[in-house]
């Protein structure tokens, strides 16, 4: 893909091409923005341009040996660094490890060591590092020297969803390019082109706040998360205290069913990541439902429905709105966000969901923790 084919990120692409045109490309970039808005795609296209031997109008030519190799995914000077590279580490003890964050040995072996060798057939090398929000302080400190002045005039692009997780020392060495969320219409258009139902597309577009990647991922029809979501919300709207334990169990087993199914579609993915993704989706849906209920309480059913994320299940939302006052909703939403943090920290998921669901009943079993 070329830079000119990137859609909806005009500002980011413009920043990159103008700097390139002026011969002032930075040697270290942070591409910042939520998941699934084209950061990696843009990084790839930009890398292709940086490596291209005869760029045309600030874009890669697509014809030179460098571009051909890039298209064939066998460019020796393009390196994608991600945490699962630990599986091909030269040290067996690293290969066996289950990785949760981007470990320092991956950064050392696949970036810091590789950057020292001269490029093979382009004038420089390009490194794209995925999920840098998961870099710990140790790994970031190891990177500092290379970021400051990459050897061989190499380019390093860090992809990041949470800029706050990067140290100030890392941020100050890089130029930050912001990637905004995509518009709802574009996502609906793209998903519809794949044969996804319009109502479903609209729901995913709204749930993930403009992330095409996430929407595409969850709208995968085999197995359909959308169907499960409808079930889930209907049950939530009527949830009684006595059902909580069984329902938490159901969420867990459903989440692991999805994890297994997704793993089959993409065997290289990290299993625990996919598991967390499934669980996070349930929490996101809960958050969206309570937000919708709040909207409904304030503006009344017909007016709210147009703008709701769960516009397709007004009945369920209405029930929630009747059961919970706006203040109660807000309080619960806050706790749900807390749960996402628990999931990311790999807290026992059964407890997380039980806790979560207890919040969806009128009972006051779960009192707010004293802060």
């Amino acid at each position: 893909m070329n830079l000119s084919e990137i859609f909806c990120q005009a500002k980011a692409v413009d920043t990159l091409t103008r700097a390139f045109g002026a011969g002032k490309s930075a040697h270290a970039y942070i591409f910042e923005g939520i998941e699934g808005v084209g950061k990696y795609t843009t990084a790839q296209a930009f890398a292709k341009l940086l490596l291209c031997q005869s760029p045309v109008k600030n874009d890669s030519c697509g014809k030179c040996p460098s571009c051909t190799a890039f298209e064939a995914e066998s460019h020796p000077d393009f390196h994608h660094v991600y945490k699962e590279l630990n599986k091909i580490s030269k040290l067996p003890e690293h290969r066996k490890k289950q990785v949760f964050e981007l470990p320092i040995y991956v950064i050392k072996e696949f970036l810091i060591e590789k950057v020292q060798l001269k490029p093979s057939f382009s004038a420089s090398k390009v490194f794209v590092v995925s999920e840098t929000e998961e870099l710990n302080a140790e790994s970031q400190n190891a990177l500092l020297k290379v970021l400051e002045e990459p050897p061989n005039k190499s380019f390093i692009i860090l992809l990041c969803t949470k800029l706050d997780n990067l140290l100030p020392t890392t941020r100050s060495r890089c130029q930050i390019v912001h990637f905004g969320p995509l518009s709802e219409n574009i996502i609906i258009e793209k998903l519809s082109a794949k044969g996804i139902d319009k109502a479903e597309s609209k729901f995913w577009a709204r749930l993930f706040g403009g992330s095409l990647g996430q929407a595409e991922f969850y709208s995968n029809p085999q197995p359909s998360f959308y169907k499960i979501k409808k079930d889930f919300l209907n049950r939530i709207s009527k949830l009684q205290l006595g059902e909580v334990v069984d329902f938490a169990q159901w969420i867990n087993s459903t989440a692991s069913e999805f994890t297994t199914a997704w793993l089959k579609l993409n065997p290289d993915a990290n299993k625990s990541d996919l598991g967390r993704q499934a669980k996070r989706a349930f929490v996101s849906i809960l958050i969206s439902a309570f937000t919708d209920a709040m909207k409904m309480s304030f503006t009344g059913a017909p007016a709210a429905q147009e703008k709701m994320t769960n516009f397709d299940q007004p009945g369920a939302i209405k029930q929630l709105a009747e059961r919970f006052a706006p203040e109660a909703c807000a309080e619960r939403i806050e706790r749900f966000f807390e749960s996402i943090r628990y999931i990311d920290a790999a807290v026992n998921e059964k407890l997380v969901f039980e806790h979560l669901l207890l919040n969806c009943t009128e009972s006051d079993i779960v009192k707010e923790r004293s802060h």
């Binding site: 995914e73 066998s74 020796p76 091909i88 290969r95 061989n152």
Partner: protein, 368 residues
């Protein structure tokens, strides 16, 4: 493509070529090797994007020209286990058939167009030497290069061509090995006074190439790459970026305490003394006195050792400590029967000279 290979010759070639194939990679095509058959020549090449190797296979009959990418490990295993004298390899699209007398294998490969280019030697070489001599020089320096170091320039061997000489240097910051090699002809004027750092991995590969006594090796540095051609094999490698430390300044020239030692006897003495060392006290003490050199080691709660050697020494008596591994490494590669040990003060590096070409310096350890 259809080629008849002599099995033994092919097995030998694969033994070397497959050492380049990465065991684990994100790009499956790199686990294949490329076979190129043209007229009367068959080449096999492999690359991991950093090192590339091309091997001209002897005793191969080309029946149909062409090229193919075949999974390396499988092919090597089939060739190794087969007993036939001749193996016929036929490739159509990405399917490879290997036929022996009583055997028939089909393995699936990749399309050759997708395989990355492996550079060959074209144009005139810049350095020419005897392969055996270059390998000897590499062996003398390779062990001293850094295995784990954040200064990546030290993870390679420095090449410094000048006139009819080529200096190779390897160091890890605690020891340094320097070998001066005679070239067959003057090095190209274009690379005079230039420095190149070749990765240790590449040098180790060059050392593995089977060498006949008269084999020549030619080297060319171009576009950040070293291209080394020796006999049937061409090795290409990306160079290491960075500046090599100024090694000339740290080789001491003012030492007066010199002693000639027997290589094998010293190696044995150091190894024996090293038996009584542990993680906490790695040092072996060398006490040099009139007519004797005594190696002692001591480890708390373990014991101590003392090995005495007769020597002909006229200088000041002195004591100095070394990491025994750093001595064992160098004594293993010295080919002469004896070498010269030079010492200054106990806190200055020890210097070992062997023949006219080889210098090794090693930092002492404090034994107090």
């Amino acid at each position: 493509m259809k080629v008849k290979f002599n099995r033994a010759a092919l097995a030998e070639a694969l033994g070397l070529v497959t050492t380049v194939i990465p065991a684990r990679t994100t790009k499956p095509i790199l686990q294949g090797l490329k076979i190129l058959a043209e007229k009367d020549k068959v080449y096999i090449s492999a690359t991991d994007f950093e090192i590339g190797i091309t091997y001209l296979i002897p005793q191969a009959q080309v029946e149909k020209e062409g090229q193919a990418v075949v999974p390396a490990e499988r092919l090597a295993a089939i060739v190794r286990e087969s007993v036939d004298e001749v193996l016929a390899v036929e490739v159509a699209e990405a399917t490879c058939r290997i036929k022996g007398n009583d055997s028939n294998f089909t393995i699936y490969g990749h399309l050759p167009e997708q395989y990355p280019q492996v550079p060959g030697l074209d144009g005139s070489p810049q350095i020419e030497a005897d392969l055996v001599k270059l390998q000897e020089a590499v062996e003398h320096c390779l062990f001293a290069t850094a295995k784990e170091n954040t200064r990546y320039a030290l993870s390679g061997i420095l090449w410094e061509p000048s006139g009819k000489k080529l200096t190779l240097v390897g160091t890890d910051g605690r020891r340094l090995a320097k070998y001066k090699l005679n070239l067959n002809a003057e090095a190209d004027k274009k690379i005079e006074n230039e420095k190149f750092i070749v990765p240790a991995k590449t040098m180790a590969l060059l050392d593995k190439v089977g060498a006949g006594e008269k084999d020549k090796v030619t080297v060319k540095f171009v576009n950040g790459k070293a291209i080394i051609a020796c006999g049937k094999v061409v090795i290409s490698s990306n160079l290491v970026e960075g500046t090599f430390p100024k090694y000339e300044d740290i080789i001491p020239a003012d030492y007066k305490n010199k002693v000639q030692l027997n290589t094998a006897a010293t190696l044995s003495a150091v190894r024996r003394a090293a038996l009584i060392t542990n993680e906490d006290s790695k040092g072996v003490k060398l006490a040099l006195g009139k007519k004797s050199l005594v190696f002692t080691s001591r480890a708390p709660e373990t014991g101590d050792a003392e090995i005495a050697m007769e020597v002909d020494y006229k200088g000041e008596p002195m004591e100095i400590g070394f990491n025994p591994q750093f001595l064992v490494d160098v004594l293993r590669v010295i080919r002469e029967d004896s070498f010269e040990l030079q010492l200054g003060q106990p806190d200055r590096p020890g210097l070992i000279k062997s023949g006219a070409n080889y210098v090794y310096i090693v930092m002492p350890v404090s034994l107090s």
